[in-house]
């Protein structure tokens, strides 16, 4: 009985991928034509966007976003389902994709907490942090940088 329950705990999440709704958990990411960072961007996805999972190709998820189809790297996605395996076996501060990151976004350490912290500690130079974050790498220049440097980005890392 115990073995059967454990088997269910491990197998159910893995079997429920196709058709599952997933959400974007990062501020911005790309829906790529192919499972490759250097492939054409089909659409730009924002935090909280809902996608329909079609299949998993290594570290990439083939998804449907409205009428568009493409690939998103799995590290940019969160499931709204509870992954029992991670909850049961991960430590409190370790990495985990079990929680619905989008639902948690308004809780805990929020922009409001940061604002109040900044007011209490004016020596913290958040303007400089913002300046660092404003820097953005041009995808086309990055592609050229990689190609001319004799570098590569393979499909489905690891």
């Amino acid at each position: 009985m115990k073995k059967a329950m454990l088997l269910v705990l491990f197998l159910v999440p893995a079997l429920c991928l196709a058709g599952e709704m997933v959400k974007v958990k990062v501020q911005k990411t790309s829906l790529f034509e192919q499972p490759n960072f250097l492939s054409k961007t089909v659409a730009t996805l924002q935090f909280g966007d809902q996608l329909e999972m079609e299949e998993v190709v290594k570290d990439w998820a083939k998804v449907k976003f409205g009428q568009q189809k493409g690939y998103v790297h799995q590290s940019a996605l969160t499931s709204t389902k509870v992954d029992l395996r991670t909850l049961l076996f991960s430590s409190s501060s370790s990495s985990g994709t079990s929680q619905d990151e989008v639902a948690l976004a308004g809780k805990g350490f929020t922009p409001e907490v940061e604002r109040n912290y900044g007011k209490a500690h004016p020596e913290m130079n958040y303007a400089l942090v913002d300046e660092i974050e404003r820097y953005s790498v041009d995808p086309n220049l990055l592609r050229t940088f990689i190609q001319r440097g004799g570098l590569k980005v393979s499909e489905g890392q690891r």
């Binding site: 009985m1 329950m5 958990k25 990062v26 501020q27 990411t29 960072f37 935090f47 570290d59 790297h73 590290s75 940019a76 509870v82 029992l84 909850l87 991960s90 430590s91 409190s92 501060s93 370790s94 990495s95 929680q99 990151e101 948690l104 976004a105 809780k107 805990g108 350490f109 929020t110 922009p111 409001e112 907490v113 940061e114 109040n116 912290y117 900044g118 209490a120 020596e123 913290m124 130079n125 958040y126 400089l128 942090v129 300046e131 660092i132 974050e133 820097y135 790498v137 220049l141 990055l142 940088f145 001319r148 440097g149 004799g150 570098l151 590569k152 980005v153 393979s154 890392q157 690891r158």
Partner: protein, 296 residues
Amino acid sequence: MKTIILLLLVPMFVGCATATQVATSVAVSAGYITEGQKQALDKTAVKVEKAARPVSETEEYYIGRGVAATILTRYSLYRNPTVTAYVNYVGSTVVMGSPRPYTYGGYRFAVLDTDEINAFACPGGTIFVTKGMLKMVSNEDQLAAVLSHEVGHVAEKHGLQAISSARWTEVVTTLALETAKAYTAAEMASLVDLFQGTVDDVFKTLVVNGYGREQELQADMLAIGCMKTCGYDGRQFISLLDRLEQTSKQTSEGIFSTHPGIAERIQAVKDPAAAAARPTPPEERIMRFKKTAVSW
């Protein structure tokens, strides 16, 4: 009876207090447990649920911003557009070879204007490298090695592991878990204090005490993996560690105060680094490094 207990425990340990309460109510109705036992189980479920929640990725982002702001109280930012761009392009390349290429706010790379030899990875993806460290690298592949190692710390959330578990439990118990609500002034003051404590925990580990031996070795292995995936020469990682080890004989400041045991690290990654060997880089890679390095 064992089956009933198991059924009560499953929702409790997946962090679902409501499901536990439903299950315990059914168990009371069926006469399996008493009302007192039900209340004890319900309370435990709430505690387990609160303590079980990991740091969310948006919280990681705000903690990282706090750590970055703290680091910037100690060091000045080096604002050279050519150097900043180059470090960001090399960094963005290795990020694509990492196990976690996306974080909530994304990865950014910045240079600190100090001759101290060091690099810091703030949770969430802001990575600092000092001018002193840039002066230590002899080519782009070695710069990729430094940045890959720091990306490894972010990917594995090593910074977050520095947060004391007691503090995190307090953070989670301070929060309203079930419904979003506006915090009272007292709750906000408490959260701000806890935020400061959390940022301090991470800052002290990054800048003062350093990561543990296992975390450093893990970041090294991830760095070799990143370099291999992207086509950088893994042997350059060893060349850089060799140079750092030589320098450590002359100074104990900066990275050498927080990263002891370089010789042990060399031994640990020697073989995987050799397996990640790549042929001589194209002229373009050699020249763009030389062109940029004159600025640091």
